[in-house]
Amino acid sequence: MTTLRRPPLPRIDDRVTLKHGAGGRAMRALIQGLFAKGAPPVSDDSIGLAALDDGAALRLGDGWIVLTTDSHVVQPIVFPGGDIGRLAVSGTVNDLAMMGATEVLGLTCAVIIEEGFPTAQLERLHASVREACEEAGATIVTGDTKVMGRGEIDGIVFNTAGVAFTRRVVRDNGLRPGDRIIVTGTVGDHGMAIMAARHQLSLEGDLRSDVAPINGLVRAAMRAGGEGVAAMKDPTRGGVSSALHEMAQKSGVGVIIDELALPVRAEVRAAAELLGLEPLLIANEGKALIAVRREVEAAVLDALRAHPLGRDAAVIGTAVDEFHGSVVLDTGLGRRLLAEPEGEPLPRIC
């Protein structure tokens, strides 16, 4: 058995820096060392802040109320493939779905707007919110509006919260050796689209964010896989690598990824190679990592591929009983560890 040494979580610095919001190790250190510290425990069969899962699950009768909240500060607020409104709905709906809660009871939507923000643009963002809600089968049931002075906030900030009920909670720590890891589609689309838009990279091809609510897709996978769906996580900031590291560490297994099986759009692959980035470390906003027991692998894959948002779904790896907490990349030529990212290389991508 191979054991690997891993550096401890970084200590919390004197001041908050952008890396504390980047979804990586520094952010986890801040949440564990500050926000979750001393938080009273939730009941035994509930999931609270300390679990650092995609949302909370509170026991209610024969099921769970699943609750999550997410703030959105992306720049630019409109980008190829979506905008901050679509992102705000998708992010929260997807976090609920990752807990197994695919039927949304309701969403809240709060906006903080900078003085001088064009009303026409606000209308456009609101239309995106409505459209994404429709795709998710969700409704905004309450909201809040604040305006701040010019320069006191950068354009617009969205916060959404979601609530759903489920009879089966899926965690991000349920991986067992032998489980297969499925990604529901191409990776790196969102982060690369934002990067290209932000830096005016005039790259050939169509770099578009994948931002979408995927609760319907996840529902199809759960129906096909039943109890065989072992764990789920959405590979947002820090990409597939960050999500897999978290799943591996919480589950106490290792993960081996087959790089050649990884679905990556040619445009994203080219742009990443050019910029020296790894698609596995780039953010997604419309994808899920679904770990399944081997016996339901084919059924789940078929169900995903039959869905319009899952056509490129692929089995990309396997959980193993070695390299505990680590992710090993098989490049087709050789093998190496996949580094656990410090977080997203770029701030404010969602």
Binding site: T2, L4, R5, R6, P7, K19, T186, I256, L260, A261, P263, V264, R265, A266, E267, R269, G276, D312, A314, E322, F323, S326, V328, L329, D330, T331, G332, L333, G334, R335, R336, L337, L338, A339, E340, E342
Partner: protein
């Protein structure tokens, strides 16, 4: 479609897994014929280490091959007093322009990033030409802190030959690779049995340049490109030469490298620079290891223009004494042998220069999970 794996591998012919497996098998057979183990080979290039780490090549090499990285990171071997000179210039109000990696390299007491935080004007440029452009748009003195091997020295020479504004000068910390390879080869306790030479540097210098060294130290040298198959094919050729006891130079990167190199570039480089001895950080005094401006270019030499004094090497800060960058760069130690690696020394707070630069061994190993050799973990 874009995600078709066969289309992908067909397109990237220098990354073909089947060819790689064949080369791997050939390397294993050949190294077994050498008659002793391990066979230690050294590459001298950060770009080689990047490719080796990124594609996980160490994991498929037979255990009988010890592949180590030598002094192949120009940022890492830039000496503390050279950084000190740049910091001193910036403190005098001069604008200092340099490549991004150099900004965070610690000098004796501070880095250029520290100087910048203190109010000095330090600029990151992507090329020396950009620094010249900056000089054209200001009346301030602009000094280009010129680092790198012959590959970047050629670019520095070209802009000087093309003519630069009166307020532009160069602080040269350029290094020349062949003498450092010789130094490593000549270490009395060296285990190095063959070198992989850097393909891009050899594009400038040509491969014949290495012949005297191969003869003198009875060490074969193979010029290698940077794709996985380039590297594996070069390793195979090198092991064959070791097996056959042939201290020859072989060019395995003929699509870029010629016997005599880029004559035009070399001509420009030697019109502007000459060789001088210099201290390479963490390694040693390397005879003929530095490129200094020739006397006729004194008017653009920042050392002359600003009367920078004789360089001294002050005592190093305590923590640096634990840093084994020097041992790593001559191939005597690996990053994982260092107590600071991944604990005190991290990319966001580097102790040694090897953790600063994207070409540094420690940085590359950290980027790829801290333990690049996953040999013996077959599925």
């Amino acid at each position: 479609m874009a995600t078709d794996r066969h289309a992908e591998t067909a397109q990237l012919k220098f990354r073909d897994p089947q060819r790689a497996a064949q080369l791997r098998a050939a390397i294993e057979r050949t190294v077994a014929e050498v008659g002793h183990a391990p066979v230690t080979i050294m590459h001298v290039c950060g770009s080689h280490e990047q490719a080796i780490a990124k594609f996980g090549l160490r994991s498929i090499l037979p255990p009988a091959i010890d592949l180590i990285m030598g002094p192949g990171c120009p940022v890492c071997i830039t000496d503390m007093p050279e950084v000190d000179e740049a910091v001193a210039l910036s403190a005098r109000g001069v604008r200092v322009a340099t490549y991004g990696d150099m900004i965070r390299v610690p000098g004796t007491t501070k880095s250029l990033a520290d100087a910048q935080a203190d109010g000095a004007r330090v600029h990151v440029v992507y090329s020396v030409a950009q620094a010249v452009e900056m000089a054209r748009t200001t009346t301030d003195e602009v000094v280009f802190f010129a680092t790198g091997f012959e590959t970047t020295a050629v670019a520095t020479a070209a802009v000087l030959l093309a003519g630069t504004p009166h307020n532009f000068s160069v602080l040269s910390a350029h290094k020349y690779v062949p003498p450092a390879m010789e130094l490593v080869a000549s270490l009395p306790d060296t285990r190095i049995e063959g070198f992989l030479a850097a393909g891009h540097a050899a594009t400038i210098t040509g491969w014949r340049l290495f012949e005297p060294m191969a003869r003198k130290y009875h060490t074969p040298i193979v010029v290698a490109g940077f794709e996985p198959l380039d590297i594996l094919a070069a390793i195979l050729r090198l092991v064959e030469l070791v097996r056959d006891r042939r201290a020859e130079v072989v060019n395995m990167y003929p699509r870029c490298v010629s016997p005599d190199g880029n004559r035009n570039a070399l001509d420009q480089m030697w019109r502007v620079f000459e060789l001088t001895g210099g201290h390479w950080r963490g390694i040693a005094w390397v005879p003929d290891g530095n490129l200094q401006l020739r006397a006729e270019w004194a008017h653009v030499d920042a050392r002359t223009r600003f009367g920078l004094g004789v360089r001294t090497r002050d005592d190093q800060p305590a923590v640096v004494t634990d840093c084994i960058c020097g041992e790593i760069m001559i191939g005597r130690a690996a990053p994982t042998d260092c107590t600071l690696f991944g604990t005190t020394c991290l990319p966001e707070s580097p102790v040694g220069a090897c953790m600063v630069s994207s070409e540094g061994t420690c940085r590359i190993w950290y980027q790829y999970g801290g333990q690049p050799n996953l040999a013996g973990t077959a599925r």
